[in-house]
């Protein structure tokens, strides 16, 4: 189905997530790269060598959840915008996502937005915590959002209220 719709299945998504215990310890990257394509900026971007692709540039990146500190440098560098940071260390009820968002106008911290799943369907409310857009991100802003934990494997995007 993924090859027909571009929408990853729950099983595919869960395979890319580290265990919840790891997410609860602090921020970590989830690399949703499912297809062998010639691309490796995530490996080059990672300052601690936590993302490995190897000799063949077509390999699917593998993220070491113990090395990855969730710094998020890779998020704005992935040409496919396929990486996000999840952090479950701040609250028992919610989880924080850092996702790339290349649309104007940007949301503002404190704003409530509509959380969307991988099919673009509204699933929840999300609270914008922070919007980062430094020159080093090269016009791919990264938005931090707080979302109810039950949407951990569903939340992937957002849109502002009309």
């Amino acid at each position: 189905m993924f090859e027909k719709t571009g929408i990853a299945s729950r099983e595919m998504v869960m395979e890319k997530f580290p265990p919840v215990e790891r997410i609860n310890k602090g921020p970590v990257a989830v690399v949703e790269c499912y297809q062998k394509i010639p691309c490796n900026p995530c490996q080059t971007a990672c300052p601690v060598g936590a993302i490995k692709i190897g000799e063949d540039i077509n390999n699917i990146p593998v993220r070491d959840e113990n090395l990855c500190g969730g710094c998020g440098v890779c998020v704005a560098r992935c040409p496919g915008l396929a990486i996000m940071i999840v952090d479950g260390s701040k609250s028992a009820e919610t989880v924080e996502f850092r996702i790339p968002y290349e649309f104007l106008p940007l949301p503002e911290a404190g704003e409530t937005v509509i959380g969307l799943d991988r099919a673009g369907q509204p699933i929840c409310k999300a609270l914008v915590r922070r919007v980062m857009n430094p020159p080093s991100f090269d016009r791919t802003p990264v938005v931090t959002l707080e979302v109810d934990r039950k949407y951990l494997y569903d939340f992937r995007n957002f849109r502002r209220e009309a």
Binding site: K4, T5, P38, P41, R77, C78, P79, G80, A82
Partner: protein, 360 residues
Amino acid sequence: MKEVELLVIGSGPAGLCAAISAASSGANVLILERSFRPGGQLIKQTHMFFGSESQYASHRGVDIAGILLKKIEEYGDRIEIMLNATAVGFYEDNVVTVLKDETKYFKVKARSVICATGAYEKFLAFPNNDLPGIYGAGAVQTLMNVYGVRPGDRVLMVGAGNIGVIVSYQLMQAGIEVVAVLDAAPRIGAYLVHASKLARMGVPILTSHTVKEAIGTDCLEAAIVCEVDDRFRPIPGTEKRYDVDVMCISVGLSPLNELLAMRGVAMKYVPQLSGTVPMRTESCETNIPGIFVAGDASGIEEASSAMAEGYLAGLCAAAKLGYEPADFAQRRQEYLDQLANLRSGPVGDRIRAGMKISQL
């Protein structure tokens, strides 16, 4: 008649890299560019490129054009770029005829030529496909990203290859609604990360669908689409209507290389490379010594491969002219390795097969 050592036709990713590479070896280069601005299709590409650091991956196409043009400037005494200059003929004595500013016609005689003329867009046959509002994807990108003009308000994208999904995303960034992306193939042709970007914004991607007809009197008002079976035959009763003022056709590219055919270069139809392409050696040289090809003109691929081919062709063309750098063998191998790496995965299967057929 103007005489030059190396003539590079086209200033897209392949042409610019070829010129940089040849000039860095010491060759004197003239680049012909038919547009008023150098950079080819790079200047329309606002998304980050794939590939590796050697091909400026993670940089946006338009910025890569800037990086390459800066390098060209460093060799300012050896590279001349002539804009608004279209190569229109290529003759046996290596004379290329050029139409400059649409008014002046003159000849350039080159000792060596690299053809980096790129590609042209394919189109789709359906009733009323000539209505205003029906564009090629390249035109939509030019309007939006070069001139800052909205092509319309509601768009149906036809073609789910990389260009189709990337342009759809760019349309949405410009605040334009994309109602759906359709493709006759049963699977999405684009890199799936690009498709997922669209999917999570709620844009449906409809595989096994085609356009049945366009509706409108003075301009496009609606599109009728339908499903197709596994042999691409329309399935009656599956018609759907989309009220749109823009239909964007993105059904693939064909290599643009008639100049080489005119010169007498051996050509071959290679479906894996999306059309008729020149036969060439591993070093991008055709069967006529001193005539090289690089980029989409030699087969449709990604810009990353076009750049690596450009560097390779420029290095080898300069060496043939007597400008062989001390590290020639090492650099040549480096570019060949880059190309092999870019083409090594499953998406490179077709390219590798095509390269085999077109190799001298």
